[in-house]
């Protein structure tokens, strides 16, 4: 090697060493200066979730049960539910019923604050419930019907004075009904809360683009912040199911809900697939306020029209189970007697239609379905054809509010392919699907006295009473019998996640992000 060459090589080595040292120094500084949940020397972590955006970021005006999954990013509820349905402390560290069961006092954790810096105290909780009961566009009125007044007894004690005995309240306030929003934010600009949540949840919103995405950062003041290990949380609207697996593989997002048909593909692509119990039950909603379903004989005929197993085989690829009630098998509210009431019998359905005056091909109805439920609508159409009923399918285009305005608010369809994702309490779910103001009661405000009486009995029975489950199952049966809607099948959570995401925290009623970690 010549002298010039060796001098050049020595200079190159020196330069490389300086660059390497500088890089290490800079990256070391960056790592130690970044806010991280994983320790001082860890990189900040980001989790990208492809799901849906809530109908409103304000728990008071949010309309669907599914919203709890996303609203709970920004809000903490007074209580929380565990995997077995037990009520646990959250914002409230304890609660106590009065001896007559007509008052329940929640004791809040001390020094709670909202993400706007204002205190989350008894007055804030009182203001939230009063807003839920009185705000014109509130969707909590039905849920809070048994709450008469609310009093702030001290900074941390708040009492709900009930119109009657109701032992469901601690479980009820584990969801949207107890997702406390900032009193100051509501007073300043209540409309803004629907697009800019101000709560005391695990994350604080930093960006929201309607119909697109929302970005959050970890809320260090969340009461359970020690168990949140995600620094930045990106929530986006899930793309077409055809691209979900590729989206996770490419890193566009880390977690997404999968259709059952994609399980094998996701597993083959090296993704983690979690199948966990959920409260989701799909149905064929029927509107008794629209002909021909104002005729009980037609309603009765449709009870026998649907082959539930076919829905399970095709849509859930065998992952779900047939059910005739708004609860999956295994849930305490599930009533085995109900599933024996009407089995698939197309001949009987045809005969009942004939008795109602409709021969083969005489009856034509419209099936309304969201665009993602097209498969269910086509199966229903095919099965109705077997009992001599013609039908057309009307697809409601995608969008966060189109289905709500067309079906849940206007209640326009004759028959709709719908479903419940469940609620924190069975009573809450029964109210949503069968109650007079129930969002999924397509025949609303119809609700029988027998059902409402059965529901009241459940409310009045303590959850640890030996007769509680029987009362609950009686209410389910009363609800099913009085409603023309046919529940068809239950389906589990089917979630695909990137291998860099740890085990998910999936409750039957909602996603939680405590204890979930992600490596970058």
């Amino acid at each position: 090697m010549s002298t010039t060459a060796s001098r050049f090589a020595a200079r190159a080595v020196r330069t490389a060493a300086i660059i390497t040292a500088a890089t290490l120094l800079v990256s070391g500084c960056a790592a130690s200066s970044g806010a991280s949940s994983g320790g001082d020397d860890a990189q900040p972590t980001t989790l990208r979730w492809a799901f849906s955006l809530p109908t409103s970021w304000d728990p008071v005006t949010s309309r669907t049960g599914n919203d709890i999954n996303t609203v709970s990013l920004a809000y903490a509820s007074l209580t929380q539910i565990d995997k077995d349905g037990n009520v646990l402390p959250s914002l409230a560290e304890s609660w106590k019923y009065s001896d007559d069961g007509k008052n329940v006092t929640f004791t809040l954790r001390p020094d709670l604050v909202f993400t706007d810096g204002t205190p989350l105290d008894a007055e804030a909780v009182k203001a939230f419930f009063e807003r839920g009961k009185t705000q014109e566009d509130s969707f909590l009125k039905d849920q809070l019907a048994t709450v008469d007044t609310v009093s702030a007894d001290s900074d941390v004690d708040v009492t709900l004075h009930l119109t009657g005995v109701d032992y469901q309240i601690p479980a009820l306030v584990a969801g949207r009904t107890g997702a406390i929003s900032s009193e100051k934010a509501a007073t300043d600009d209540v409309a803004k809360l629907s697009t800019w949540p101000v709560g005391a949840g695990p994350f604080k919103i930093t960006e929201f683009v309607p119909e697109s995405h929302a970005t959050f950062e970890k809320n260090p003041d969340y009461w359970d912040a020690d168990n949140i290990h995600i620094d930045t949380f990106e929530l986006s609207v899930a793309p077409d199911p055809a691209t979900l697996v590729a989206g996770i593989q490419s890193g566009s997002f880390d977690v997404a809900t999968l259709p059952a048909a994609k399980i094998d593909e996701a597993k083959a692509s090296g993704l983690t697939v979690t199948v966990a119990p959920s409260l989701a039950v799909s149905d064929v909603s029927i509107n008794a306020n629209k002909a021909p379903f104002d005729d009980p004989k037609v309603v009765e005929a449709f009870r026998y029209a649907f082959d539930r197993q076919e829905f399970v085989d095709v849509i859930t690829q065998g992952q779900g189970a047939p059910t005739s009630q708004p609860f999956p098998e295994g849930n305490p509210a599930y009533n085995p007697e109900v599933d024996e009431l009407w089995s698939y019998d197309p001949d009987k359905a045809k005969q009942l239609l004939k008795d109602a005056g409709y021969g083969e091909g005489d009856l034509t109805i419209e099936i309304t379905a969201a665009s993602f439920s097209e498969q269910g609508a086509e199966i229903a159409q095919s099965q109705l054809a077997k009992i001599g009923v013609n039908s057309t399918i009307s697809l409601v285009p995608p969008g966060s509010s189109t289905w709500q305005s067309e079906v849940y608010i206007a209640k326009n369809p004759q028959l709709a392919i719908d479903g419940t994702i469940g609620r924190e309490t069975p009573v809450q779910n029964l109210l949503a699907v069968y109650g007079p103001q129930g969002i999924m009661n397509l025949s609303g405000p119809n609700a029988s006295d027998a059902f409402l009486a059965a529901l009241q009995k459940v409310r009045e029975t303590p959850l640890d009473d030996p007769g509680y489950q029987a009362a609950l199952q009686d209410a389910v049966k009363a609800g099913v019998e009085q409603s023309p809607t046919n529940y068809i099948y239950s389906s589990p959570w089917i979630i695909a996640s990137s291998p860099k995401v740890s085990e998910l925290n999936l409750l039957p009623s909602q996603f939680r992000w405590e204890d979930v970690t992600v490596t970058q």
Binding site: D240, P241, A242, V245, A261, K262, D264, E265, A268, E310, D313, V314, S371, E374, Q375, A377, E378, I379, Q381, S382, T392, I393, S394, L395, P397
Partner: protein, 293 residues
């Protein structure tokens, strides 16, 4: 006109194109009748199957025979494309011809309308029309027809303008020929080939738009089969049926190619009217020969 067609068909590409279009026309008319299975019949025991002797192209996510749905879908796809072309032809060619003879006001108004149509994007306008008038292929294709009208307007007007200012037409008018006679005897003969070329190429463009719209689920009411709809279903189940989109895509590509090839041949035949048509390869060879002294 027959001469133009005959001259066009001397090209091998035109012969293949016409052959493909005859098959597609047959499928559009008789497809649903010759389908081996009911294209709407579901079978939950036979979901997402690959090709078999029984189901040549396999089954879809509801167990329906894909080959039967492809045949049945031909009618809707082709008719929808033709529907938009007919709308475009009526709204474009007729005003284009009349703009030469009905005075400057009519000319100015129609030109401005056509200019404004050109600024609108096809898919967005079609989606807006279905949102406004209800989800249906007729609504969507009428919207597309409106937007392709400027193409017919401009070619018709250009051809008519050329002829209307020619000496033999002016001579005929001096001898007392009426405008209707001039249009029938002279203008129409020159305008028709241009319209034929535009019709062929616009049918291809419309077919792509129909397929795009039905791929997006716009304009069709389930469970109606369409080529674009089949493509969308197959793309959603690529893992189970990786070959699934191939055949619907080939059918769309083949039909559009055939229409464009026919348009190309018609254009060549029109341009070289009176001279024997030559292939593009031959033309390139001729152009490569050095000219001049």
């Amino acid at each position: 006109m027959i001469d133009v067609l005959r001259a066009a068909l001397r090209l091998p590409s035109a012969k293949i194109a016409v052959g493909i279009l005859i098959v597609i026309a047959f499928l559009a008319i008789f497809g649903p009748l010759v389908a081996p299975f009911d294209p709407y019949a579901q079978n939950s025991k036979d979901l997402l199957q690959g090709p078999t002797l029984e189901h040549w192209l396999g089954t879809d996510d509801l167990g329906r025979d894909v080959f039967s749905r492809l045949l049945a879908g031909s009618t809707v796809s082709v008719l929808a494309a033709m529907q938009s072309v007919v709308v475009g032809l009526v709204l474009g060619a007729l005003p284009g011809l009349l703009s030469v003879y009905l005075g400057r006001t009519f000319e100015w108004i129609t030109l401005r309308i056509m200019d404004s149509f050109i600024t609108l994007p096809f898919l967005v306008f079609a989606i807006a029309m279905t949102a406004l008038l209800g989800n249906g292929l007729t609504q969507a294709m009428v919207a597309v027809g409106i937007l392709i009208a400027p193409a017919f307007y401009r070619v018709t007007r250009a051809a008519a303008l050329t002829v209307s200012h020619s000496q033999y037409v002016e001579a005929a008018q001096l001898f007392g020929a009426t405008t209707a006679w001039v249009v029938r005897k002279h203008v129409w003969k020159k305008v028709f080939p241009a319209i034929a070329v535009t019709t062929a190429s616009m049918t291809g463009a419309s077919l792509v738009i129909v397929s795009s719209l039905t791929f997006l689920g716009i304009g069709i009411v389930p469970p109606e089969p369409t080529w674009g709809g089949l493509l969308a279903t197959d793309l959603g189940n690529l893992y189970q049926r990786p070959f699934g989109p191939v055949v619907p895509a080939l059918v769309i590509i083949g039909t559009v190619w055939a229409l464009n090839a026919l348009a190309d041949a018609l254009k060549d035949a029109t341009t070289d009217a009176g001279a024997p048509p030559v292939s593009k390869q031959k033309r390139r060879e001729l152009q490569a020969v050095p000219h001049g002294a």
